[in-house]
Amino acid sequence: MLLLFLNKVIFVYFIGICVFYLVIFLLSYGRLRREKGLHGIEPYKRMKSSSFTPPLSIIVPAYNEEAGVIGTILSLITGSGKLDYPQFEVIVVNDGSKDRTLEKVIERFQMVPVKNKVHLKRNGIETRPIIEMYQSEVYPHLILIDKENGGKADALNAGINLSQYPYFASIDGDTVLEPDSFLKIMKPIVEHADDEILAAGGNVLIANGSTVVKGRVQETKLSRKPLVVMQSIEYMRAFLMGRIGLSRGNMLLVISGAFGVFRTQRVIQAGGYKVDTVGEDMELVVRLHRMNLEQKWGAKIEYVADPICYTEAPESMKFLYRQRTRWHRGLFESLWTHRRMMFNRKYGLIGMAAMPFYFFVEFLGPFVEFFGYLTLIIDLMMDRVFIQYALMLFALMVVYGSFLSMGAVLFEEWRLGKYPKISELNRLLFFALSEAFWYRPMLTLWRVRAMMTLLFGRAQGWGEMQRKGVSD
């Protein structure tokens, strides 16, 4: 009786999710269809040459990033791939790395110590002690902070303390950008007519498989490794469908730590990144939304589809597991910190739609799914399954999920067109169809384990990942 009831609950839940994703898909479809065919270069030329384009501080927190950090910095400041932005500074924050991150940056860019330390706390956010600050002799707008280990959020806060421009961007130590990425991500901020933009997120693509030379992607290719292809599909779905859809209602709660721009003054007002959480990027965005609504700033958080950054995805189960459990824990911590917003009308769509979505679908979803698998196994063992119906339901799940994945690929084709080969499209379709058979159950299991770990409250740090480095 109980199982029957639970089966019905799961069915209703399943239909609810399908409807919600369809709405998100349609919202994204509307926006991307409008932008389909928009020239990739011409709309940004004015901003590139204008003296009214606001300068930007780019913060690169690095912890044990010796494999990727040089490529990331190179992609920002030098060579043919140099960032196409009128005025910017780059602040690399070495968060007490145990490898040769610090030495490599000092050597490669001829960093010399800046003796005075007055300005290290100029924006007033408390951080772990700064050991030394360096400035490049070759590129004066490149700064390096060496500080005691305090986690990624603390490293970002140290960078914010030093940033002197009205907007700052946070990118990961292994991120590779396209030269015009910042022009594109800043466009809605610069040209927005009505509301203040608190933050803007851009598109993250997976670099594995692509050809990256001296911090610049020469050719985007889809990896041949199943685990990476699955992550590519996930990223397309999350960024081009989920985030665009949610941002249309100003409901976006996550801006990826790999690539986002924030209004410096507002983040300082909010007290910077929260240090005792592993989901600092999401927590900050939720806090900014909260302050925006409480203090009636009338501001928005935007997501832009065409600015691209590339990041290295985990290629082994071990590191993917670590990454995903960390993300799940971060999700919970953000939701828990701001639980007062949940179903609170005062917070409008954030409280009534976005927060419940992240809690019931993103956070609890794996648990419900896990329970679904469990009841199916029990029912099979007790011979209580209407096999045809169960298979039909499973087929729907596979086909619908694949449709959404292909929808995201369609959006990618409309707005980015980075994977022109039909063989790549076939691979994407094949793996999208296979997702429900291996990748999804695997992630479900990991997330459930993450939920269990939450109960024991084991702390996590940067979530180290063995990086090969994407740049030659």
Partner: protein, 357 residues
């Protein structure tokens, strides 16, 4: 019943999945075919195009007829304009665009696709096709014209020095600051700056701010403008006061410094500078005193180096550093100033080079 529902949903999803997949295959194949065709066409005509760019004649050998031909030329010419500067009386690209692109652009401005219309406006701007003014005005009045398109058109009309731009802008959505600044940069020049100064107080605050930004950006100078800038220091709008200071600092010139010193004295005596809302003004005043170096400013900078706002202290120290005796003045301040923050920032700027900032 549920079984049928699930079956139907599965069939619909499968249909959609197949449709998207087939569409993607078609689109990718079409893109490849289109790119190849475009490259081949460019290759075939590359010598003719080169000859035309060098001599300005022979355009009839590569007249575009198909979409891919227009787009290939657009991108090629746009790239060229980014890297090559032509003589004033020899503009083969502008001439070509005016001769062959106008009918194509007229048609594309009527397109139902927002992206197509936006791309068209960007290229009209790129090639400065002034003869399209009537088409732009017509499009501006059409129901289809979105705010983004209107902003682009206003800028284009500003660029083309359209006579009734102000009339056309009436009733339109207020331009965001970036667009307004860009527009005023196209409108205000050394020849007409006094006209803008005369009518300054008839403009809205956002236009006033944009006029000052244009003056600053283009380094325009006139006596009337100087008088206006000094007068604006007494404006009731804080933003205008800051912009006026910023403009003076950027121009690096004041015909007399007395009113400015008087203004600073008043602010200090009346406690106005003790208010946190005036941080921006103090910062800009400090910058101005670094830009227009005068011995009478030094006591004020010595006071501002002990300001409670970090930005003001930093700017005052930086300005002092620019003075001929800056380093020695900062050395004295670093050991004698009663305020610890002032001593620290003075110490910092002894070592730093303002030119690297």
């Amino acid at each position: 019943m549920t079984y049928v529902l699930v079956f139907l949903l599965t069939v619909i999803s499968l249909g959609l999945l197949l449709a998207v997949y087939l569409y993607l295959i078609f689109r990718k194949s079409l893109n490849r075919w289109y790119t190849n065709k475009r490259e081949r066409w460019l290759e075939t005509h590359s010598d003719d195009i080169k000859t035309y760019i060098y001599t300005g004649s022979g355009s009839e050998h590569f007249v575009p007829e198909k979409r891919y031909q227009y787009e290939a030329l657009e991108d090629m010419f746009s790239d060229l304009l980014s890297s090559v500067k032509f003589e004033k009386d020899f503009e083969p690209i502008g001439a070509f665009a005016q001769r062959y692109f106008v009918p194509w652009y007229q048609k594309r401005l009527q397109s139902g696709s927002w992206s197509v219309r936006m791309n068209t406006l960007h290229f009209i701007n790129r090639f400065k096709i002034e003869v399209m003014q009537p088409d732009l005005i017509r499009h501006l009045r059409s129901k289809r014209c979105t705010p983004e398109e209107k902003f682009e058109i206003f800028l284009l009309l500003g660029e083309f020095e359209c006579d009734n731009l102000m009339e056309l802008m009436k009733g339109a959505k207020e331009l965001p600051d970036f667009w307004l600044n860009e527009l005023l940069c196209r409108l205000v020049s050394q020849d007409n700056v006094d006209t803008y100064v005369d009518d300054f107080f008839d403009y809205t605050p956002s236009w006033q701010g944009a006029i000052l930004e244009a003056v600053r950006d283009k380094h325009l100078r006139s006596e009337k403008l100087q008088r206006l800038l000094v007068q604006l220091l007494e404006s009731e709008h804080a933003e205008l006061r800051v912009k006026a200071l910023k403009t003076i600092a950027s121009l690096g010139y004041l015909f007399t410094i007395d009113p400015f010193i008087q203004w600073m004295d008043n602010n200090r005596e009346n406690g106005i500078w003790d208010q946190p809302q005036t941080d921006g003004e103090r910062l800009m005043a400090a910058r101005l005193m670094g830009s227009i170096r005068h011995d009478r400013f030094i006591p004020y900078l010595n006071a501002l180096i002990g300001d409670r706002a970090y930005g003001v202290r930093r700017e005052a120290a930086k300005s002092l550093r620019i003075y001929r005796q800056g380093k020695s003045m900062l050395t004295v301040l670093a050991s004698t100033h009663p305020d610890a923050f002032a001593r620290s920032i003075a110490q910092e700027w002894i070592e730093r080079n303002p030119e690297h900032e």
